[in-house]
């Protein structure tokens, strides 16, 4: 009991100091430094309507590359941990067969979910949304399939290949930036096109599509590992 009280006191001190720090930077005040630069010449430099996409992919593209590798590492880590974990077949889960409506309904809805997800990451640079959001929607589409058909498994070979190819496109497009024009990684060498048109903002849509596939396949991979009640090793 004393532990709880002491730690609540410590935590309240931390919260108090944090608030004290942020008093100097009030909530609504315009604290933009670098942000103003991005807002003013986003259209000129990247041609993307959605400034957030421009910042995530173009100005701070390396962060997103790092972020994608983090997700890749997490997927690899999870598949390591779940490798041969449920090898003992005798402990098979009692198979829960969802009723008829879920099985039929999921077969109908799944393509629409894929369509909606791909819409989001294709239009990443125009409307809010992008690779991450579209990819996770696709992953939840796969999830629906797991609920409907608990026995079947996603073909992990194809998932791994899409994952790898998407990552490769991202890195290759970035590396091309080094050899052309301004000798810097992720340089936007494609034509910018006109604002709010689908083929605008240079390589951003291509990168976001790659990220969309990658995030989608990775989260699907993670869920597949997690959900696998039956044999997990072997053919992966």
């Amino acid at each position: 009991m004393i532990r709880k009280i002491t730690y609540t006191i410590f935590l309240s001190i931390i919260v108090a100091t944090l608030i004290l720090f942020f008093v100097a930077f009030p909530f609504g005040k315009n604290k933009m430094g670098v942000g103003k630069y991005y807002l003013n010449n986003d259209i000129k430099q990247t041609g993307a309507a959605n400034v957030v996409t421009a910042v995530t992919l173009d100005y701070r593209g390396l962060d997103t590359l790092g972020e994608v590798t983090v997700l890749f590492a997490a997927a690899a880590g999870v598949s390591i941990l779940f490798y041969l974990i449920d090898q003992d077949k005798k402990k098979r889960e009692r198979q829960v067969y969802p009723n008829f409506i879920v099985r039929v309904g999921s077969r109908i809805i799944f393509p629409f979910i894929l369509l909606f997800g791909s819409y989001i990451f294709i239009h990443g640079h125009l409307t809010p949304g992008g690779g991450f959001q579209g990819g996770s929607i696709i992953a939840s589409g796969f999830l629906l399939l797991y609920l409907a058909y608990p026995g079947e498994r996603v073909n992990r070979k194809k998932l791994a290949v899409t994952e790898g190819l998407a990552g490769l496109t991202f890195v290759v497009f970035g590396a091309i930036g080094i050899f052309t024009g301004a000798h810097s990684f992720l340089f936007n060498f494609f034509p910018k096109g006109t604002l709010n048109m689908l083929f605008s903002a240079g390589i951003l849509p291509i990168l976001y599509i790659a990220i969309g596939f990658k995030v989608g396949s990775e989260f699907a991979g993670i869920i597949d590992d997690m959900m696998c009640q039956t044999v997990c090793g072997g053919e992966k």
């Binding site: 309240s12 933009m32 991005y38 259209i43 910042v55 995530t56 941990l81 974990i85």
Partner: protein, 113 residues
């Protein structure tokens, strides 16, 4: 100002959960609370009173009226990093349960000194 306070309290509750709670799942929930709190903090730093979303959906929108896009870009990355960290933590908990047969952190003390 309430956004900041809310974010800090979320972080504090997350830390509290990790330190006090004995159950492994509660510890992961604590982790998740800390990363959600941080995400809320990051975005609320970028808010400008009366600003609009930073998207040039139609020509009439002026850059001066927009909210700061940079924190939103950072939060995008932070959310996905938090989610992947969490997935790995969940995998560890599942395996720990398989080895130790319990979710109580006090029993998971094979290594010391």
């Amino acid at each position: 100002m309430i956004f900041y306070v809310g974010a800090f309290i979320l972080i504090a509750v997350g830390l509290y959960a990790i330190i006090i709670k004995k159950n492994l799942v509660k510890i992961i929930i604590g982790l998740d609370l800390i990363s959600s709190g941080t995400n809320l903090l990051i975005v609320s730093i970028g808010y400008v009173k009366g600003g609009t979303a930073p998207i040039f959906s139609h020509p009439g929108i002026l850059p001066q009226m927009m909210v700061d896009p940079v924190p939103q870009a950072l939060t995008l990355t932070a959310i996905v990093i938090g989610a992947s960290e969490l997935a790995l933590a969940a995998a560890f908990v599942a395996i720990l349960y398989k080895h130790y047969g319990t979710l109580d952190i006090r029993k998971v003390r094979g290594l010391k000194w």
